[in-house]
Symmetry: C2
Subunit: 215 residues, 2 copies
């Protein structure tokens, strides 16, 4: 299995955690978003969105290419069911997916590199206006996530004692919030899960700073 | 089953199609986003994101509330497996999810009402700059979607002869593109699927203009 990634990508971070939790050894290829390596023709041929992560499973005639972190994690879950990243009951599975999607759809895509680049050029937003933008969408998302957590029986992780898909999406989003200097003190349930996760080897080893391409 | 929706919501449109395809009769409650009904305290208590769609299944002690269109559709799929909205093989399921997520994550959230409102105020973008914004992200997304479709054996629908989750996400996105006056002629595969889907009663009945709250 081959996995294209960039150390600072939140979406890549999610897949790194999932691979670690399932003890899947994948050959990691770093694609430098800062150097625009993701827009080279050879990479665009693999992923026409020009994004990481990208997973390649099998080779030759059996080669299968897959984009989108949520689709990759659902694929890993179906292909390697144990340990499970989704809960057992239909309702709990739905709740876990909804938590992940709150961040995957309504927070992260608003603050990734292509959007921040567009805010600079052509929109010519200054540093403060860009900070207000990232702060607004991250804070709105984490506030709603915190409310949803308050309705659940969160123990160590979002959905109970074991880490799962909601945690896989939350932890990179908290790391991103901290990088953007968003005040995370208003989200104590989220931060308790973050603190717990950072003690877990699968999350710890997936951290951006611990990747070979980290700078 | 109760379903909170707004006729012009692309995410609501997806769930309407899914409910129709599975012949599930849900009681539809219209929430006017244009009147900010989604930000009233009683609705925010149901969905702290203040978004539609929201699904409520069961009642009393058995009541289950679920947000996020993708999570709702996966829930409907697990709860009412026939007719299936996801393909049978693990790889095809992953491909279908990735197509849906390309639009769910990287196109739609950039162009919904809260973002367009923010572009107006505080960012004070004029009509042309807002049109350039929506055109950019919709075009980038549909271009990549078109490339991915070119790698598949598209017949009537994205993944074959029967409609499924990729079509459920594509059709509302095409409708949104047309509403924003995006030139869709560069995406003939997407448009062929759109034309096919519009002949299908489940998609036809889910159209924004055919909802009771359409104005």
């Amino acid at each position: 299995m081959i996995f294209y990634d960039y150390f600072r990508s939140s979406a890549g971070y999610r897949v790194r955690i999932a691979l670690n939790l399932k003890n899947i050894v994948a050959q990691r290829h770093a694609v430098s978003l800062i150097n625009n390596a993701n827009h080279h023709a050879d990479y665009m041929a693999l992923n026409p969105q020009g994004f990481v992560p990208l997973l390649i499973d099998g080779d030759g005639d059996d080669k299968f290419q897959l984009t989108q972190s949520m689709a990759i994690i659902e694929y890993l879950e179906e292909r390697f069911p144990t340990p499970a990243l989704l809960p057992r009951t239909i309702r709990e599975r739905a709740t876990a997916r909804a938590l992940a999607l709150m961040l995957a759809c309504d927070v992260h895509p608003l603050n990734n590199k292509r959007i921040l680049d567009y805010l600079s050029e052509p929109l010519k937003l200054d540093k403060e206006a860009k900070a207000a933008w990232t702060n607004k969408w991250i804070s709105d998302g984490l506030r709603a996530f915190e409310v949803q957590l308050s309705k659940l029986s969160v123990t160590a992780f979002c959905m109970g004692d074991a880490p799962g898909i909601a945690d896989i999406f939350l932890i990179p989003q908290i790391a991103s919030a901290q990088r953007f200097s968003v005040d995370v003190s208003a989200y104590p349930r989220c931060m308790a899960v973050y603190t717990e996760a950072m003690q877990h080897p699968a999350f710890d080893a997936a951290q951006p700073a611990k990747q070979t391409d980290a700078s």
